[in-house]
């Protein structure tokens, strides 16, 4: 946990709500973008209705809310490389990874090769990942 004087903790941001209808998803993303500047070990989770946040081809024109879905594709540039998606949440909603936007990061330790940030996990596997965290924010 200690890296010289700098404390590095495992921070998890858990997204469990649909992207529109409430402001939680958007304000959660605002926290994550600020948090990225703190050089901590960041993971994101999309579970329950939170999986809808990453749906492809979102169009918010009719609801009059800002479409912030393109911002997720910038997470890689913020050095956020671990994005867990809960498999059961997808299945329960008749979705698969094909329905979601792809998220990538460039691996500085591997000649900036583009790699997949999305990690599909079962509910049981996700429980273990949560257990390893120091700080869990749930939005």
């Amino acid at each position: 946990m200690e890296d010289g004087d700098q404390v590095i903790k495992k921070f998890m941001y858990m997204n469990r709500k649909a992207p529109y209808g409430t402001i939680y998803a958007w304000e959660s993303l605002e926290v994550v973008l600020i948090a990225a500047a703190f050089d901590q070990d960041i993971s994101l989770v999309f579970a329950d209705d939170g999986v809808y946040q990453l749906m492809k081809d979102q169009n918010t024109e009719e609801v009059g809310m800002k479409n912030f879905s393109k911002t997720y594709s910038a997470l890689g540039d913020y050095d956020i490389k671990k994005i867990y998606i809960e498999q059961e949440s997808l299945e329960e909603r008749g979705l698969s990874l094909e329905d979601l936007q792809g998220l990538k990061y460039e691996d500085e330790d591997d000649d900036w090769a583009e790699k997949d940030s999305i990690i599909l996990v079962s509910r049981a596997e996700l429980a273990k990942v949560i257990d390893e965290q120091d700080v869990v924010f749930s939005f």
Binding site: K17, E27, V31, I34, F38, F137, S138
Partner: protein, 130 residues
């Protein structure tokens, strides 16, 4: 134990702020340290000076304010969430040319970095909300 607290819901509509108040009070009475209470989403409404609940009900913003005074704890409203919802301290009101401020004594307004810092510095982060 050193705690960071996050309150994500406004007063009265949701139990989260009552629970956070009770937890914070109990932790302080047991001699624990509250590093910071951070208010986000509608949680920023806990910091209003304009709430007038019925006299036979609890006054949640006043309870936070009194707790801050008694134990000298740091209560922080997220600036972005507060601006969205019309919660302003005097300098924010002036800076944005607004006619009035409405933040109760004992709170201050600052950025989201204060939440992350509470996560780093605290032994535990406790989140109150849905």
């Amino acid at each position: 134990m050193k705690y960071g607290i996050l309150v994500n819901e406004g007063p009265y509509t949701h139990q989260a702020s009552d629970s956070a108040l009770a937890f914070t009070k109990a932790a302080l009475e047991k001699g624990h340290e509250i590093f910071r209470v951070f208010f986000y989403h509608d949680g920023v409404n806990n910091g209003t000076s304009l709430a007038i609940p019925p006299q036979d009900d609890r006054h949640i913003p006043n309870q936070w304010s009194e707790l801050a005074k008694e134990y000298n704890i740091d209560l922080v409203l997220c600036v972005a969430a507060a601006q969205r919802r019309g919660l302003l301290d005097e300098s924010e009101a002036k800076r944005n040319s607004k006619a009035a401020s409405n933040m109760i004594e004992g709170f201050r307004i600052s950025g989201l970095g204060q939440l992350i810092e509470a996560g780093i510095q605290g032994d535990r982060m406790v989140v109150f909300g849905d």
